[in-house]
Symmetry: C2
Subunit: 244 residues, 2 copies
């Protein structure tokens, strides 16, 4: 019995998220079926992050155990042949038996991409959030600092969250601009449901001048989802890296 | 009679290029049909650049004359409602009667995007050329300088070119790297068929060490297509701007 770890990049546009759902196209379901075809056995594939419908990943991590002796490089090549071109398994490696992609994750990094321009984009559609009003980068950067640390992020979680508690530890939040793109890079131990998207929606309100940067601590302290900004659309979100 | 100019962005992935062809999906055909539906008259739409199948554009320019009195902003809004989301008309403006998007073009800028990484990419597929071997940026930059100026670019044109002559004037060729992306930005008065793609293919050979930068002048002087590098795939090419 071997425990195999996959490093997966995907364009989430045409998937109803990572997690398997009957009758719906999911990334987990697509990779699992490909593995089962290659290995000729049932596969229980576990992912580090349950990305939402439309969310992308540069570095999703998943693992499964198998009795098969097929070489990891051969599995990777077969996955390349079978998988659609919007899912790429970049690496297949053997890991210790006890390793779990979800439970052993020490840190995750997400980026949220905003297209801050006056007109729609054909080329970058489905890969960023179009915000037409000019955003004030400096104010967004000031506001971002207040999101760092170990806090109760109730105000930044979906009403549908089923988490036991809402205390999370955010290591860094960086906001940068390059041409018409604004990127919010968030690193933390783990995240609540929709947490990065609500952070992005709130920072966009700051950039528009609707919220002052120094109002962020009060929004956090309120522990009230209604005090934060909108949930930014999933198409702008990317899972970049999971660290162990 | 008014002459209207369109500024068009498109993701060329699903089109057989700009130029209209019977029975095939083309950008020109798609925009022309949308305009005809809006204006209720035949439209003769002329584009600045006949981009190949799979080539993208941030700033294609096209124009047509019309007897319709519909406001340009209303035409733009109707185009947004009708066109598929991989074509965006960013601007519609009235221009003088004599203006021709192709013949009056003074300068065009293209970029060619290379994804220089060891594995495939799901997120950027269809939008760049994957080159797995590490490329030497400095050598590519040195080679690029030899492509600037007014020269006979016979070595850098498709065998199927129907141009009267092959002398063209290149204003600048800049090669830059950002993370795993290498971008070649080429500006010139006008271009031969596949010229930027053959330049990109040749510069990649330089980056791989197959061609020395100082060999470029001899390749140009040979006036022989076989001396230059491969025609880089169309998916990495973008028409960025047309100046008048």
């Amino acid at each position: 019995m071997r425990n195999l770890k996959l490093l997966i990049e995907y364009d989430g546009t045409h998937y109803c998220g990572w997690q398997i759902q009957p009758e719906l196209p999911t990334v987990q379901g697509t990779v699992k079926r490909a593995l089962e075809a290659i290995l000729g056995e049932k596969v229980n594939l576990k992912g580090a992050s349950r990305t939402d419908s439309g969310v992308h990943a540069y570095g999703q991590v998943a693992n499964f155990t198998t009795d098969s002796g097929i070489h990891p490089l051969a599995i990777r090549q077969s996955l390349k042949d079978i998988l659609p071109d919007d899912i790429v398994v970049k690496d297949v490696t053997v890991v210790p038996q006890g390793f779990g992609s979800r439970h052993d994750a020490k840190e995750k990094t997400y980026i949220y991409k905003i297209y801050n321009n006056t007109s729609e984009t054909a080329i970058h559609r489905g890969r960023c959030w179009l915000v037409k009003r000019p955003l004030n980068l400096k104010r967004m950067q000031e506001a971002a600092k207040f999101l760092i640390g170990q806090k109760d992020f109730s105000s930044f979680q979906s009403a549908h969250s089923e988490a036991d508690h809402s205390i999370r530890e955010i290591h860094s939040v960086k906001v940068s601009r390059e041409d018409v793109f604004i990127e919010i890079r968030v690193t933390g131990r783990s995240f609540l449901m929709h947490m990065v998207r609500i952070m992005a929606g709130t920072l966009v309100n700051v950039g528009k001048g609707k919220i002052a940067p120094e109002e962020i601590p009060a929004i956090i302290e309120a522990k009230d989802r209604k005090r934060a900004g909108v949930t930014a659309p999933s198409k702008g979100l990317y899972l970049v890296e999971v660290k162990y």
